[in-house]
Symmetry: none
Subunit: 204 residues, 4 copies
């Protein structure tokens, strides 16, 4: 009996072709993003999301098991876009270019990324970041004193935190280039290890 065959979205969402489902999925994604621009993720109710998306309440659960799962999906999507822009430029010899690209992209999607990074969703976004970057940047090496796992956690946390600070401020206060420089000097360069050279702090 297929009495409950209607439950759970397909295992591989990418294979969905039914235009109704695609429309619904996108409507839910957009609705969540729009709501995130105005209130904290955990203050948003599923009923608000489906209301804004013009979608039936039960329909939500035909696509996502929970609010969190929808956020995961949205986060993965957005982080994916960001990565696609930044990763190809990431090159140990010149990290600044990647930082600028990243900041520029974020600056161009200010509203979305402010929502993602300052609206209670940042934890999820960070996890997605770590997941995707450990896939895409597995060749990056850190110097020995910094455990790889910690490097990733730190890098992502620091980056998102800096971006969040930037996005919380009024629009023109800091330029994309300034933030990129901060990012590079404060996070990327120290984490990548400044290999083989000066350690500014006092010796052990």
């Amino acid at each position: 009996m297929n009495a409950n065959a209607h439950r759970r979205g397909p295992a591989l969402p990418s294979t969905v072709t039914d235009p109704r489902m695609l429309r619904t999925r996108e409507a839910l994604h957009n609705a969540l993003l729009e709501l995130l621009e105005r209130k904290q993720f955990d203050k948003i109710t599923i009923r608000e999301i489906v209301g804004k998306a013009q979608v039936g309440y039960a329909t939500f659960f035909r696509h996502h098991a929970s609010k969190e799962e929808l956020l995961n999906e949205v986060a993965a999507e957005q982080v994916g876009h960001l990565m696609k822009v930044t990763l190809p430029l990431l090159d140990a010899s010149n990290t600044r270019i990647a930082c600028v690209a990243l900041c520029r992209y974020v600056g161009q999607h200010r509203a979305t990324w402010r929502a993602l990074l300052t609206g209670g969703a940042s934890g999820t976004v960070r996890e997605e970041f770590i997941r995707l970057s450990s896939e895409g940047a597995s060749h990056i090496q850190t110097s020995g004193w910094l455990p790889v796992g910690l490097g990733a956690v730190y890098g992502v946390a620091a980056t998102t935190e800096i971006l969040a600070w930037w996005l919380r401020r009024p629009k023109g206060e800091s330029s994309e280039e300034q933030i990129a420089e901060i990012l590079d000097r404060l996070v990327v360069t120290p984490a990548l290890g400044v290999i083989g050279s000066k350690r500014p702090s006092r010796g052990k």
Copy 2:
């Protein structure tokens, strides 16, 4: 009408002397901390807290307007303890000592700090950190390229994230000194500005 005359804790909790109130407050603090060691903050219900604290349900609201407010108070308290240990040692000329003190303190209160930093309460703890440190460390100067506000946000976020990573791992995996070194090299030194000298990233 004085329908809610009994509501709201006193404006200045520090002035409370009634031993019953003190007992209740402490019981609630401890109950929250113990629960945080076992589950996410937002999965904890007020009824659980008062149950564990052996306190009447309504009594909770005579002391705190909400769960979050209690968490704020607990966070301020714990962060205060931590600050008291670390701040006096903070000296631009030798940051490592402060880092070691901080890690040692956290290591000695592992359970509590793991609860605070990995249990969904970290946002609150961070805010409390920023608030208290901007009071206590207002004399710290960063070099010009790093806005003061961002410096604080970054420093706290990076620090808590690193500590959280540490506390999530099995107990003996990294020593307090190792974490302190990472903290110093990765966060404190770069943020304090590497004053007057070499900037490892390429010039503009």
Copy 3:
């Protein structure tokens, strides 16, 4: 932990003394009866009941596990009242008197009993009837050709069906005495067995 201590009404509702609970219980009883006068039991939603009773939705479940359980309670109550009036008069030598008493009582509470017997609740009422009458009339003997269990089921079903027919018709169409006579001749006398002889009825 008494996290769910609020669930389920007390095992012995008769022992409840809290006036709030009494008010709520009665409001729910009345609301159900009023709604039953206007629509089928299974078309009535719990939300309608609590709406009419001016009671919170969740409160319903603090008193009754389901709509059906509430109906059981209401039915038992009403049937109990009816029994109290009729049973004492039940005497094998003159069943007519009991029939008249029963019809009179029902006639005096026309709206309620029409609701109970014609509104989709009759099954429940019948079961309650059988339950209570097998307690109160256990001394009644049927002649051998009619199994006792069947006698009860038949008597109750026939009686309620006749009353239901009566109550469905316009108010003055048949007098209480006429229905009582039908009841006596059609149901009671045949079921009691017509033991060889005298039929007390017929004489006015």
Copy 4:
């Protein structure tokens, strides 16, 4: 637009000849009957019915506007079969023969009739019974003290209730003849009036 041109079965189902429709109709009838043997009518969902009938969900509505309508149809069909067997034998001078025929028929289709009479469908079955019998037995006269309408309602209710009692009991407990006698003495004879004369029963 003929958006709903496909909706609603033909006004006269008897005129349908398309074998696909016939197959579907029968499958739905059987599915409902089988399910009724295992659970209450109102606990049965349309999705279960179409599942068991191996029929698409929407197809159900191409034949029946609702679950209830399907039940009506099934009830009419089964009651019709029963009537065809019993009615021709109904003769005021010897009601026993018809009673025996009725019980025998029901006994031969025990599962079906238990489903129909004890599974929450009895109300519908009774209505169908009354409708069909008032067509087929309109010549039956009752004595004056019993209104015709009430006679029908009573007769059908009492009969179905007695049968239901019988069918609920273990299979061989009462013979078809015993039930027929009860039916005759308890329901048919009293209702037909026993106008001062012969009572065919009693003599064995």
